[in-house]
Symmetry: C2
Subunit: 346 residues, 2 copies
DNA sequence: CTGAAAGCGCTAACAC
DNA sequence: GTGTTAGCGCTTTCAG
């Protein structure tokens, strides 16, 4: 209980038990602390000989600069926070991945928070995040409370919202219009001669918007919606299989199904095979997200492609522009292209 | 270029352009800064009336405590860092998810870093992370350089390694023996009467260890390995499909395939169907990871189940125990149970 | 229960 | 090029 926290710890080279700090390095190298700071942050302002001496001391002592202290002093954290609802979704995973890479490349560390789909306590989340004084923020979607929204404004740091394009922006924005995705999928399927439609969607704000866009377009064109089923987010393959079973009674005639995720589309296609429903002859299926699963399944599944990686890169570029001192611009809101990829299920 | 960074920003309630700090709140509430600090951190040591006044001031001014400053002063960051190679893998995604939940519940924020599979510059990674002075660390696997290893030791914070169990632990460890997984899968397939085997594996340290365990056991039992194919990490469905095509020439006789990931197993099963190879009659397939895909595919795929969520929870429990002041214990190394789930492909 | 003083480890700003 | 001084915004510690 009260024994030392770790007995496998080795005394640091300085012989002290406390982590080595900038003054230790300075003393070891025979320079002022400020010079050590310069060697680390602005090496070109220090003479080569001094640099060498300091570097040697740093290595010998195993000095790891305290970024907390540095950040407090310089009022820059060189850290940006990113918030996504999930990382299980390949789209978000690739956004996060490419965003992190781009930011790290520019000298910023990314700390990732996973907030889930139920907008639980966004105020507490933001308070914790902003309390660490990130230099910038990437957030997903826009289902935030007014108080949370206000916190972001008052934080006075660059903010980029991704994934959605419909709401009033806090600052910068990069995403697409989910209703239009639904509408375009509808148009695509109408163009294939369908007149009976079904929707299978997760109950999250954006997915519901896509479904609405789909239903509206289809209805306007005189089509019938034979099933409009919602499941709790996140999407699963199992939900796709169940959805198809729910659709079965309506499958006496040809029908086209739009799923809010490729996972559900895959589930529907699997279950269709099990149930003896022929795809695409009796049932057309279109997913959303262009997961590897859709491309590599047999039959490959028609879906909507989103450029996750390019979204992440663009988001990073937006933030870096601001962090470099540039002000707001006209093109601070950017449409991410999406595109229907036609495969064997339609 | 030189215009103000954001013109949509609203002056904060204090009327100043600088973020409100503890002294502002203190002044507004007519108390000392220390009292504000107590209201936030140890509310039970402040009288209800004072608390109310301070809370009101906090809300009115929109005060967001600067955790950077607090951390510097208290030498506690209430933050823990987690490092995983990828979040695309459902196993890691669920570990991260449950770990974050557990830690947040205990008042710690988790910042996630994705390091990839090529152990690029682990020293730089750790330096950046440790520079933020996390109170504890979760890391994946153990392919770290000696220098990086030394940094972790000298950081003198609790460290838990997950996912692997084979190496010398830095501190605490929770995982399983990958070689034994391979061996048990081999035993399972041998028990089904197989005598010809194939392995399809990603070229990452742990996957290779599983493959080795598999091959050794199979060979020792007198079985033949007809194919031992490696692909660059991470695993993909496409690699599974290609792997099966590579295996095709050997499929004149019955064969059992072990894949280092369910994604590859799925790819193999899909391609087998395309090629007219009957599963499991002509080819048995076993994956690894128990992704939803395996359970929900038709045919459902035999695989190895890993308790991702429980790994994350246990890792959190380990760290929290140490953070609460407890010293090392006997059971600081914990085996995570794994189990073969038999389904239709074997 | 509340306050005052001192300092966490670093860097901005200004000397030299 | 390099050093000195004075904080960054908070909490520890000790007094009341």
């Amino acid at each position: 209980m009260s024994e030392p926290v770790r007995d496998l710890s080795i005394r640091s080279a300085s012989g002290k038990n406390t982590p080595v700090k900038i003054t230790d390095v300075a003393a070891a190298a025979g320079v002022a602390p400020m010079t050590v700071s310069r060697v680390i942050n602005t090496p070109d302002r220090v003479s080569p000989e001094t640099t060498a001496r300091v570097r040697e001391a740093i290595d010998r002592l195993g000095y790891v600069p305290n970024l907390i202290a540095g950040g407090l002093s310089s009022r820059k954290s060189r850290m940006v926070a990113a918030i996504v609802p999930t990382i299980a979704h390949p789209m978000f995973a690739s956004v996060v991945q490419s965003f992190s890479d781009s930011m790290r490349h520019a000298g910023y560390q990314v700390t990732l928070s996973i907030c889930g789909y139920e907008d639980a306590d966004d105020e507490a989340l933001f308070r914790g995040l902003l309390g660490r004084r990130p230099d910038a923020l990437l957030i997903t979607g826009s289902g935030y409370s007014p108080a949370a929204w206000q916190m972001l404004i008052e934080a006075r740091i660059p903010v980029v919202e991704i994934w959605d394009m419909s709401s009033r922006p806090i600052d910068m924005m990069i995403g697409f219009d989910h209703a239009r995705v639904g509408a375009e999928v509808a148009a695509f399927l109408l163009g294939k001669g369908h007149d009976r439609f079904a929707v299978l969607t997760a109950r999250d704000a954006r997915a519901l918007t896509r479904a609405r866009g789909f239903v509206e377009t289809v209805t306007k064109a005189g089509g019938t919606v034979v099933l409009d089923q919602q499941i709790p987010a996140p999407s699963t393959i199992a939900a796709g299989r169940e959805g198809l079973r729910a659709l079965l009674p309506s499958l006496d005639r040809r029908c086209a199904l739009f799923c809010s995720s490729d996972l559900m589309a895959f589930g529907a296609v699997v279950e269709a095979r099990v149930q003896g429903v022929r795809v695409p002859e009796h049932l057309a299926v279109c997913g959303f997200g262009n997961f590897e699963l859709s491309a590599m399944n047999e039959p490959p599944i028609t879906t909507v492609n989103l450029e996750g990686a390019s979204t992440g890169r663009s988001a990073a570029a937006f933030l870096l522009r601001r962090l470099a001192g540039e002000g707001p611009r006209e093109d601070d809101r950017m449409q991410v292209p999406f595109r229907i990829i036609e495969r064997a299920t339609t």
